[in-house]
């Protein structure tokens, strides 16, 4: 496994302060390695987006980061903690080192500026020395990368289709060739044909540019196909982490298992769909112990009392981690 590029340690993100705070992300540890696609899945409301926004500090009020560290390892030089950067430093860090593609492309582009303006101003902001000509050449190149002809540069966002806008956003995310690209459900609004097109292009670009991707969705089948490793979130915590294929083949956490048995397969024999009974937990009143235990078919004594730590299961392969008393950790993951 290659070296880490982004290390999240004990990250906690709340909405609100004090007693009213909703702890949407709780003590999350996650490592993104250079050049890999890390999938982050989990049902709606489990805190995926909050995690993504929290670690880049883009969470709107009343969101606050209440603890933890986000270490970024530049290609050369010592690691930096994103959470301690001043606004000016943060501004320089953003996009040049880590960029984000948001869920709704329709709302991510400023409706009153041309695509070109929006593409160019990020280059201008971070690389003020470039000439205008060089910049515009770069913009054309970027559009071409995502399969849009350069004459669309002067269009306004509303003149493009949803898929094209999403691709423009991807092109923009890659404009400064960052090390990390965070994608929050970049394709849920699109239909499958378009989705596949975009993912295809993204895979291609990753091979060429070598950035790492944190890919967020709740569509597990998409992740299994597209990512290298998958982390599953439930109730604000990571409950399982494993290479994609292994996770699909043998899920350790009952929740993961439930997820995998909730979507019908398109090919192969028609299989039994079990689903997950019950409904997601209320973040304000989390059950004690393992958050999943009220819905868990395999729950037993310790589940309702003690919080299972996330760690490599004693009975599993290396490179995996799970937080479940069914698979007690061999040793906790070092922080």
């Amino acid at each position: 496994m290659s070296e880490p590029v982004l290390e999240i340690r004990g990250l906690r993100v709340d909405y609100g302060l004090g007693d009213e705070a909703v702890h949407a992300v709780r003590d999350v540890d996650l490592t993104l390695h250079r050049g890999e696609v890390l999938g982050l899945a989990g049902e709606s409301g489990s805190g995926k987006s909050t995690l993504a926004y929290g670690l880049t500090r883009l969470l709107p009020p009343p969101g606050v980061v209440s603890g933890g560290r986000v270490l970024y390892h530049p290609v050369d030089g010592p690691p930096v903690d994103v959470l301690t950067l001043t606004p000016a430093q943060l501004r320089r860090f953003r996009w040049a080192e880590a960029s984000i593609v948001f869920q709704g492309a329709m709302n991510s582009l400023n409706p009153v500026h041309r695509i070109s303006t929006q593409l160019l101003d990020v280059i201008k902001a971070h690389e003020p020395r470039t000439t205008p000509a060089a910049r515009s050449a770069r913009a054309r190149e970027l559009l071409r990368l995502v399969g849009i002809s350069a004459d669309r540069l002067d269009s306004y966002p509303h003149q493009l289709s949803g898929g094209m806008r999403q691709r423009v956003m991807i092109a923009m995310a890659l404009a400064l060739e960052p090390q990390v690209v965070i994608m929050d459900e970049p394709t849920t609004a699109l239909d499958v044909v378009m989705q596949r097109q975009i993912l295809g292009q993204l895979a291609e670009l990753r091979q060429r540019l070598g950035f790492a991707v944190l890919f967020i969705t709740h569509d597990l089948s998409l992740l299994v196909e597209f990512s290298d490793r998958i982390a599953i979130m439930y109730g604000g915590r990571i409950v399982e982490e494993a290479p994609a294929a292994e996770l699909y083949r043998r899920a350790l956490h009952p929740y993961t298992e439930g997820l995998l048995h909730s979507f019908p397969a398109l090919r192969g024999p028609r299989r039994e769909l079990a689903g997950i009974p019950g409904s997601p937990p209320d973040l304000r009143a989390m059950p004690a112990g393992c958050a999943f235990h009220p819905r868990c078919p395999k729950a037993f004594d310790p589940c309702g009392e003690k919080l299972p730590p996330l760690g490599p299961p004693g009975d599993g392969q290396p490179g995996r981690a799970v937080a479940c008393w069914l698979h007690p950790a061999a040793a906790p993951v070092p922080r």
Binding site: I100, N107, V112, D121
Partner: protein, 326 residues
């Protein structure tokens, strides 16, 4: 293109409706101008003089309403607004032309300044929520609820007075002849300071508040977060992204509120005895000078319409989404 045409069609319709309304309102007024003149000359006009005034104004002629309406349009299309009663026999257009520049200069400039300043402060307040600018809000709320005329009265009481730099009334020092020289212009500017400040103070807060609210709304849009994520300089995010988008609804609001502004500043003109349209209208209403009322109303309505049209054009230029066909 279609958009603009539709707007023009709408304006034509509105103009027609407003002008028709304009025609009917004075005709429904029960009193007559001669009686009102008497009250101006309270006790000075004998009963005989009154009789001669009726003859003078030719008030007893009775056409059918429809004929009058047709005549009204004929006259209008010739640019003829009739003769004023109070300034008989001066044509209404002349009386209005005397007053118009004052209102244009005072109200027009102040309105623009108020919009610009208010919008600017609103951008600041909305962008840096919780900073000192937000502290302005309670004060502005209070000021925007103060009636214009009362603020004017207080301003006169506190600031104007014998020997003060601020004159309490009029458009320029009596005795001066309107001419483009420094004496006259200086005097005119001095006379406009208090009324302008009054309008500014009580109208600006509206812009501050609406712009602030719009900024807050826009600041939560995804594309603003994206702009932050892009690491753009704060100024650029605030101005090119947030303010630029927040401005759009305000431009439309600006055009629409012009009507309110003209109405509101009427009182400022009354309080400061400023020789503008509002004051003229006030006098015309008092004197039942309905040709003059009609004329002023027409001018106000048309200028609001024109301002709206302009605002539409500006909006068209600002918001690419309205330029769908091209």
């Amino acid at each position: 293109m279609t958009y603009l045409l539709r707007r023009v069609g709408f304006y034509l319709f509105t103009a027609w409706a407003a002008l028709t309304l304009n025609f009917f309102i004075p005709r429904l007024i029960p009193g007559d101008p001669v009686k009102s003149l008497i009250s101006r000359y309270q006790g000075q006009l004998s009963s005989d003089a009154i009789r001669s005034l009726y003859v003078l104004f030719g008030i007893d002629a009775h056409d059918s309403l429809w004929d009058q309406y047709v005549d009204y349009w004929k006259q209008l299309l010739h640019g003829d607004l009739g003769l004023s009663f109070t300034a008989f026999p001066a044509p209404v257009s002349e009386v209005i032309l005397d007053a118009l520049p004052w209102t244009l200069a005072l109200v027009g400039i102040t309105t623009l300044v108020s919009f610009a300043l208010g919008t600017g402060l609103g951008v600041l307040a909305g962008w840096r929520r919780g900073s000192w600018v937000d502290g302005l809000l309670p004060a502005t709320t209070f000021l925007s609820s103060v009636p214009y005329f009362w603020l004017g009265l207080v301003a006169i009481a506190l600031l104007a007075g014998p020997g003060s730099f601020f004159p309490s009334s009029g458009g320029y020092d009596p005795g001066l002849v309107p001419a483009p020289d420094t004496i006259f212009l200086g005097s005119a500017v001095r006379h406009s300071l208090l009324p302008a400040a009054t309008i500014l103070i009580s109208s600006m807060s509206g812009w501050i508040l609406s712009m602030r609210n719009m900024m807050v709304t826009v600041a939560a849009e995804d594309y603003i977060t994206v702009a932050h994520a892009k690491g753009l300089p704060e100024r650029r995010v605030a101005l090119n992204y947030a303010a630029r988008n927040a401005l759009l609804p305000n431009v439309a609001g600006f055009a629409l509120s012009l009507g309110f502004i003209v109405g509101g500043t009427l009182l400022v003109e009354i309080v400061f005895s400023y020789p503008g349209l509002g004051f003229l209208l006030f006098r015309a209403v008092g004197a039942k000078d309905y040709p003059l009322m009609q004329g002023i109303f027409l001018v106000i309505t048309l200028s609001v319409l024109v301002a709206n049209l302009l605002a539409d054009v500006v909006y068209l230029m600002l918001d690419p989404r309205t330029r769908k066909e091209g």
